[in-house]
Point group: C2
Amino acid sequence: MTVVHPKQPPDNGDGSPTGEDAALERIGTRLKSRLGTPPPGETWSGDDAAVVVLPGRLESATLLLSTDAVVAGVHVDLSLVTLADVGWKALTVAVSDIGAMGGTPAHALVSVSAPPGTDLEELADGIAEAAQHWCCPVVGGDLSRAEQLVVTVSVTGTLTGPGPAVHRSGAKPGDGLFVTGPLGASAAGLRQLRDRAQSGAAVDAVLVQAHRRPDARLAEGRAARDAGATAMMDLSDGLGLDLHRLARASGVGFALDAVPIVDGATPDEALGGGEDYELLVAAPDEQRLAGTFAARDLRLPVRIGVCTGDASEGRLGTEPFDPTGYQHRI
Amino acid sequence: MTVVHPKQPPDNGDGSPTGEDAALERIGTRLKSRLGTPPPGETWSGDDAAVVVLPGRLESATLLLSTDAVVAGVHVDLSLVTLADVGWKALTVAVSDIGAMGGTPAHALVSVSAPPGTDLEELADGIAEAAQHWCCPVVGGDLSRAEQLVVTVSVTGTLTGPGPAVHRSGAKPGDGLFVTGPLGASAAGLRQLRDRAQSGAAVDAVLVQAHRRPDARLAEGRAARDAGATAMMDLSDGLGLDLHRLARASGVGFALDAVPIVDGATPDEALGGGEDYELLVAAPDEQRLAGTFAARDLRLPVRIGVCTGDASEGRLGTEPFDPTGYQHRI
């Protein structure tokens, strides 16, 4: 079982889709050829969550749907984190996808494939803790034997109030780009856990906690949607890779001024580390965004740059900003 | 990678929950201690699908939610079936769970964990074929690297017309017990595929197809619900095990007269083989059930016995009928 460091050079460095993205695109093409395109009001793959419509007698209901797997040895290193941490993380990264659409998670399904002897109760404790914390009860599940632990969480979500979900594809030239907090904590925490395992070095509890028990920015996602965000996604694979995804989906370029780095993290960890689950937000009205966050006692989003009209542009200061981050080799 | 034959003796033979059931119950207890019990109108774990309520402005919407994983080497033998078969099966067994509640599948999420080099396009073709066949588009997904292929499909479903979903727990003493078709085809097909691989023996195309491309009894599930079925589930783990589950959930016993066996299957394959995905139905009014099926041009359900008031009773003819079937060793 090999553990891949979150910061991996992508399969190619030219901004074209790499590894997981490319595989997902190929699969998407195969599905689309049979299943057609979504009906009006729906958006399927390509965002943090799908938006679907359930017709009712009196009104139709908009539903957000998302699924995410946490694989031991790939997404988590069981020699560094507990099974309860894995459970927390699996549930949290799934609800984070709902938050990144501006939605509120409603219900979770958990499918566990595990080697015999896995402490399923410890895993369940972490799942339950997160489900309680994010008000997203686990309503069903599935359990099978496997050689490697895989925890797959699917989540439904709803949109409160009027207006559509916030997709990745809505950013316009001139929109400000924001993140909901400083980056790099998870990657720095992972580095410290490894150092401690090897040499007994001291760790920073805050960074380690960020790696073991990530937060989902649900209230922030709702606030950004209410404040007119045009595009949004959660930073699961690192700003470098994820920002390129948002820009590509929106058909814009970007110019970054500066990126907030968490105390104790390196610039590489902040830009390419991934797993921070802070939100990346494009919004035209910075004052409205800040005002909405302030009115809800949320930490103010940090402006990191602006969307530009040249889709080939991507820079940090005067330097080109290449996609870096975590991509599974498939 | 070991392949477990569907027909495995359960961990114990006294009717008490075994293996997967027991593990799920332990996990359920941990979740319940934190998450509490479902609100009115909702039922969570313990059925083929969960029933949840999404509040709306004008009306609330009932949603069915289910998730199922197919693990290579556990649920499928990749030396005997294709990746397209695996994709078909993963999608189909998930929609079967919605059908077993009397619902109609609406949308699917697919999470794939796969070893590098897996032909994801072939897998996607099988998923798409099934999604098209069952009118259940794949609206989102997730892809990660893993040592072993795990395909997890989560499905939403709706209920058309009035009345609640059909649970496992509603059977009453005196209700007839029915199956929607003869049993054992999948296990017999698997046996033939193995024989062919070992000795080049001829296979029966119908049986092999039943193993490689199982059906989901969606129209039958809706018809049974409309005809007043009191309890229902799909036969994924074999009649022996699944009937005990339904009886246990309903607090009834059962007396079976005869079980229809598909041509070419053994009695053991029919009772314990599993993966038939025919529906097991309890219903008080056989005429109404048959009439509803006939009016919709569906194969008539076959009466196999009756629910009894003695919850400890379980027999086939005059013999005790022990639970047998497929249980993952966890």
